[in-house]
């Protein structure tokens, strides 16, 4: 069964192109949510295996959404990968990336190969 990935980012173009890439490369079912205020409802409905979450968004930002997920016992186990243009990509070492968990941070612009590797690790860990 295809893994379910939810993209939460206010940039509709970005989520659209990322979805197209992910669906073309891997066996993923990707959904997008561009309105941060609707994010929690979408998560509950879609029940993703992993969430790619933008940090800077109008309404609720990535940190707010993550905090709310942690408060919800049904959702707190969903792994999250934060995507942000705030971090300089040089600040993120390969080592940091290998530390897969629910608090991954990847820099924007997104390195697709890196993202695929991270997704692979998170999803295989979840299946263990």
């Amino acid at each position: 069964m295809a893994h379910k990935i939810l993209l939460i980012d206010d940039e509709a173009g970005f989520t659209q192109l990322l979805k197209m890439n992910l669906e073309r490369i891997g066996d993923y079912e990707v959904e997008m949510e561009n309105d941060s205020l609707k994010a929690l409802a979408t998560i509950r409905r879609f029940q993703p295996d992993v969430i790619l979450l933008d940090v800077v968004m109008p309404g609720l930002d990535g940190g707010d959404i993550q905090a709310r997920l942690q408060d919800d016992s049904k959702l707190s186990s969903i792994p999250i990968v934060m995507l942000t243009a705030l971090v300089d990509s040089t600040e993120l070492s390969e080592g940091a990336v290998a530390q897969a968990g629910s608090q991954m941070i990847l820099p924007k612009p997104v390195d697709l190969q890196l993202l695929l590797r991270v997704l692979g690790e998170i999803l295989s860990k979840a299946e263990e």
């Binding site: 490369i25 243009a85 997104v110």
Partner: protein, 430 residues
């Protein structure tokens, strides 16, 4: 004592220089009193019986003769505001002279009587005053140029504050482009239904990055004040684009209430943007710890009906009842202005921000920019709810050159100043 000697002592004791020349006897001097001796440094015994050509340079004598003839033609007392004679010791003496034609019916003799006053000192001080005035005008111009430089310095600070946000806004379209490239590098299938969307998104991303970079470049450019008829809505749009990141990041909602059909205002777009950026960023920072962060930008046209006392001195000075103005208000939902700060908001270097967060020049420079636009900027607390409101009032009529700043460098001005002083000094000493 005969009559003539009485007259002589009377004349010699007059506090003004007096002479008479006999037109009918080749303009020879017949009267030359003591004061006239003093002023001209020519003793009476040398002057009497001589005419102007015997006593003064040909050039001066020609001039005196021309004036005399004109006085004779007019047939009445005539004032010569400034005559210059060079004395024996080469001193220039400036005289104010009244020349009176006298026709003695009995003898048929025609005389010109002159009464002179030495006005050299007044002339000197008037020249000095002119010189000082010119210096003052130049200093004022330099001051205006310095102000423009200060405005530019403050602008660079704003750019620093915006830079991170602008970088973020450029990174987004770049990221999108990269995703497009990633997709296309996996192979291009002619019947792939995603292709049009991807190409369209990539094209838009380039346009978006271009707009934001161009906006920053336009904003940074240093120019003398150049005002053009401008659509206020487009300025506000450009400002919101530059500040977009700060707005989104702080989770601020922006409400625009721009009345349709606003008249064009006469603006220096880049400097006016600087003011709005400043006010918007200030408002965002003021709302940092507020529950709701709401920014309203409201612009409308108004005909001033009652420029009352409580409008403040500047408004009363610039605007009159009946003036058509455009009013722009930026309202925030922050805590408002503390009463203790209200009077100092526009003071240079006054800041409520932590050290390193701002120089405190923003508002004073903003006000100066608005004043260069013949408008007013005020900052008050809102009366409807918590928060502050910045209010800009701008005239809609194209101003007569109330402010004119030439685009010259300070160096050029200084050079010009020293040149003109030199030539003046030369004239005086030659």
């Amino acid at each position: 004592m005969g009559n003539s000697s009485v007259i002589e002592s009377v004349l010699d004791n007059l506090p003004v220089a007096l002479f008479a020349k006999e037109v009918t006897d080749n303009f020879r001097f017949v009267v030359w009193n003591k004061k006239q001796e003093e002023v001209t440094t020519i003793p009476a015994e040398r002057a009497l019986g001589k005419n102007d050509y015997d006593l003064f340079s040909n050039e001066s004598a020609d001039y005196f003769r021309k004036v005399d003839q004109s006085v004779l033609r007019r047939g009445k007392a005539t004032e010569v505001p400034e005559e210059i004679i060079t004395t024996e010791n080469q001193r220039e003496v400036h005289l104010r002279t009244i020349k009176i034609p006298v026709h003695d019916q009995e003898t048929g003799r025609i005389l010109i009587v002159g009464i002179s006053e030495d006005v050299s000192e007044q002339v000197q001080s008037r020249r000095q005053l002119d010189r000082l005035n010119r210096h003052l005008l130049r200093a004022n111009e330099e001051l205006q140029i310095t102000q423009l430089q200060l405005i530019q310095a403050e602008k660079l600070e704003s750019i620093g504050r915006l830079a991170a946000g602008v970088a973020h806004e450029v990174k987004n379209p770049l990221g999108l482009l990269l995703l497009g490239v990633d997709y296309l590098s996996q192979g291009i299938l002619p019947d792939d239904p995603n292709l049009p969307t991807i190409l369209q998104q990539m094209r838009e991303a380039v346009g978006r990055a271009d707009r934001i970079v161009r906006g920053l470049v336009d904003f940074s450019s240093q120019r003398a004040l150049t005002r053009e008829p401008t659509d206020l809505a487009s300025v506000i749009e450009a400002v919101l684009l530059l500040a977009k990141h700060e707005i989104v990041r702080s989770n601020t909602t922006v409400e625009l209430q721009i009345r349709d059909g606003l008249p064009l205002v006469f603006l220096d777009m880049s400097k006016f943007e600087q003011v709005l950026i400043n006010l918007v960023i200030n408002a965002i920072q003021a709302m940092e710890s507020s529950e709701s962060r709401h920014l309203t930008i409201h612009a409308w046209e108004e005909i001033l009906s009652n420029v009352s006392r409580n409008e403040g001195a500047r408004t009363r000075e610039l605007f009159r009842s009946g003036d058509r103005v455009v009013i722009l208000e930026i309202r925030d939902s922050g805590p408002g202005i503390a009463p203790s700060d209200a009077n100092r908001l526009f003071d240079p270097f006054f800041t409520t921000k932590a050290t390193g967060k701002g120089t405190g020049l923003g508002l004073s420079v903003a006000r100066r920019i608005i004043e260069l636009h013949s408008g007013t900027l005020s900052l008050k607390n809102r009366t409807d709810e918590s928060g502050a409101v910045a209010r800009i009032v701008l005239p809609t009529k194209i101003p007569t050159s109330r402010v004119s700043i030439r685009s010259v460098s300070v160096e050029a001005l200084k050079e010009e100043a020293s040149n003109s002083v030199d030539t003046k000094t030369k004239k005086l000493t030659s």
